[in-house]
Symmetry: C2
Subunit: 456 residues, 2 copies
């Protein structure tokens, strides 16, 4: 066994050659997408006008545990991967915990997050298929930045619908996307029918991921040879993100690290899903007994306070019906600096695993998240994104429990990104003006009322 360095960098030869498809080993599968008109399971042919063919095939694949990564995607991955697995020695010292804390750091690329892992794959497949333009939505701006980078590299034009409140909180995200050649629209915009309708009903709205998705979908479907791409939630996105978990697994095996608990932040679920998938596969097969914990914002608590139901993925009700934990597609999350976690729904894979007891979840208020973000920044030298800081919070909670009990647990969490474009949030926190928004039961009931009643 090699000596454990501060940061574990795998060699390029050790990078995964395939993604990991956890559905191939799940005992029960997530329920299929339903067509909102017929309530029948969607077929691949029905999905292919929206998504690229290869991505639909990946979405539907329930039998191959490993799906090869094309060389054209690996070429892109090599520009910023493998990412380091870091031992948080300083954080351990700061907390005085006997626990060992590791984090897989996905922020060392210009998009600032893990999102590039799926962006590169999706744009690669679009290019291969001869697609002439793409549309997408972005919340915090990390997905939009990542997709802009991938589109610039592979040469595919891109329109980004950016959640309005985020575009105001993060003006420089827009400039970054534009520097990479993307066209950026604040959502809701007046450029789509659904955007105009939402603006009419709710003129002062700061928008939401669900609403931006509707706008991007409408645009993609109204254009010739254009497709829509999504940065989270869907199974194929989680598939691409498993490059995170697979690298982590290789590093753990190489250095004899055995995590007791793996923690991630959950918004749509892609980073958490990608991080845990291969370990989850092992747990389902009885090879480990790792505990998996998702941390979500108290302002948008889909797992901890949502319902497991068929719902639309977007506010405009244009997507297939998806069985997932949801607050209702009409739920408008209150302002929160972790824009990437402001989504009413949740990945169907994560939802199913949570429902079946393989995953637990906790929620936390943003002011507490920034408390640990600030400590982490100072002692580990990395300024974390607000989203990622939810995972830090979970790890700190766990490490402090170990301090009480004396347990020497191995805690591993996903540090999905950096906060360089979140300085407004840090400014807000530094000045002591940060407010926590927790929806009341009444707020939630209003959201739940928008979940379609389809008798399931």
């Amino acid at each position: 066994m090699e000596k454990i360095p501060y940061k574990i960098y795998l060699s390029e030869d050790e990078m995964p050659k395939s993604w990991y498809n956890v559905k191939a080993v799940m005992k029960e599968l997530p329920d299929p997408f339903l067509h909102p008109g017929t309530l029948q399971p969607m077929t691949a042919d029905e999905l292919k006008p929206i998504f690229c063919d290869e991505l639909v095939d990946q979405e539907m694949n329930t039998k191959d545990e490993f799906i090869p990564i094309p060389e054209g995607v690996t070429d892109y991955y090599r520009m910023y991967r493998p990412s380091p697995l870091v031992r948080a020695y300083n954080l351990e010292k700061q907390l005085g915990t006997p626990a060992k804390i590791y984090f897989k750091f996905e922020g060392n690329n210009t998009s600032g997050s893990h999102k590039l892992n799926s962006a590169a794959a999706q744009v690669y497949y679009a290019k291969q298929q001869g697609i002439e333009s793409l549309t997408t939505e972005t919340g915090a701006g990390q997905w939009g930045s990542a997709l802009s980078m991938a589109c610039a590299y592979y040469g595919v034009p891109l329109d980004v619908f950016m959640v309005k409140i985020s575009s105001e909180q993060k003006p420089y995200r827009k400039v970054l996307m534009e520097t990479y050649g993307a066209k950026v629209h604040a959502s809701p915009s007046t450029e789509t029918a659904v955007g105009r309708r939402i603006l009419e009903e709710n003129p002062g709205t700061g928008g939401s991921l669900g609403c931006a998705i509707s706008e991007a979908l409408e645009t993609a479907m109204s254009r010739k040879n254009c497709r829509y791409v999504l940065g989270s939630v869907l199974d194929h996105v989680i598939l691409h993100q498993t490059v995170i978990g697979l690298e982590t697994q290789t590093a753990c095996e190489k250095y004899g690290i055995k995590p007791d608990v793996i923690i991630g932040c959950v918004g749509g679920g892609s980073n958490f899903g990608g991080l845990i998938a291969p370990f989850m596969g092992g747990r389902i097969k009885g090879e480990n007994s790792i505990e998996f914990v998702g941390i979500e914002p108290a302002s948008c608590p889909s797992l901890t306070r949502g319902r497991y139901a068929y719902d639309f993925g977007d506010t405009g009700k244009m997507t297939p019906l998806i069985r997932m934990y949801t607050l209702g597609s009409g739920f408008m999350p209150s302002p929160n600096h972790a824009g990437g976690l402001r989504y009413h729904g949740m990945s169907p894979i994560i939802s199913k695993l949570f429902h079946d007891g393989y995953i637990t979840a906790r929620s936390v208020e943003q002011s507490k998240v920034f408390d640990v973000a600030s400590i982490f920044a100072k002692c580990e030298g990395i300024l974390p994104a607000p989203e990622s800081s939810h995972a830090i919070y979970g790890a700190v909670e766990e490490a402090l429990k170990c301090k009480e009990t004396g347990e020497e647990k191995t805690i591993l969490f996903g540090l999905t990104g950096t906060g360089y474009f979140d300085m407004t949030a840090y400014m807000n926190y530094n000045s002591g003006n940060m407010v926590d928004h927790i929806p009341t039961d009444e707020d939630l009931e209003k959201g739940f009322a928008t979940i379609p009643d389809i008798g399931k």
Copy 2:
């Protein structure tokens, strides 16, 4: 010989154990600092009220080729080093050049640049000496960010004087420094006598590094047990930055890479000095014949249009007299987005090596710099800082020459940092509003008139 990967990461064991002191092998040394009153060489005792003792000793050291890096500094380095040496395959393809292009990337840390290498060392020594607070200046904000991070880690309070124009162009830099606990003042400020004087003489000024240095110096000298730290120019800063060149050298030796030309951007000279120092040592000893090229902004051309003379390091004429290439301490560089390169002077080591013909220099307008920055961002997936992009420009020029001649040169450049906090500059460039400022001969004469006439 191992196969050359896309990114070369050394192991932690391969990290340098010592810094490299090029003065120990230089055939002629830079001239000594002079006391502005007596015009006699400054002694260590005269410098120690301003700088930490150990740093003064390093500044004066002309005999030890290697100076050990303390374990307390290595602990910090391990959080973000070793940095990768990257083969710019995509840039080569984009340019259609037969040249091989490598860059040493120093941007993968929260401060966003190489500055952390000296910040960690300087704060470590201050803490060891029992210093109770530090002051500094910052131009682009990279040095201020780096020093704030190091001060947070080692636990030393910090005041930063930030060039006013930069603090306006980069508001989030200030928030970043504050997140790390620093106090930030826009310079010229009304908090120092020299700041008030400069404001009186030139009320609309955007400030300059030279002016911010005066303010930080005055503050340090007026406080008990406080020292001033500088992020560039001085020999001990270049010494700390040689960790860049030493890692590069180890990686080159490990993979059989033999650079024909090494290129860096030059402002105060610390990154370029640190990158080239060990290679320069080899060249002086006759072990290689590498060409060393510094690239500076046309708006602040100290090497290409300045004079080699004794001058003050700051606008307020508080520093010792330093023999260097200078535009005169009264030269006010016009606005330019590469704030880190807006300095009237130049490292005495770089100045001497340039004067003796070991280094060549070229200048370039910022609009051309952003042209290549934009290409580089798209094909290499890293958004470069405006400062660093000067080096990219130099490398591209060199690679295009190779395209003409068919030469397969190996070009290596320093990519000192990322542009995440320079989005105003990119916005300006994207919108087509970027203006180039080149000082006229008359402008330069005005600056030269402020160089003290001491008969040398």
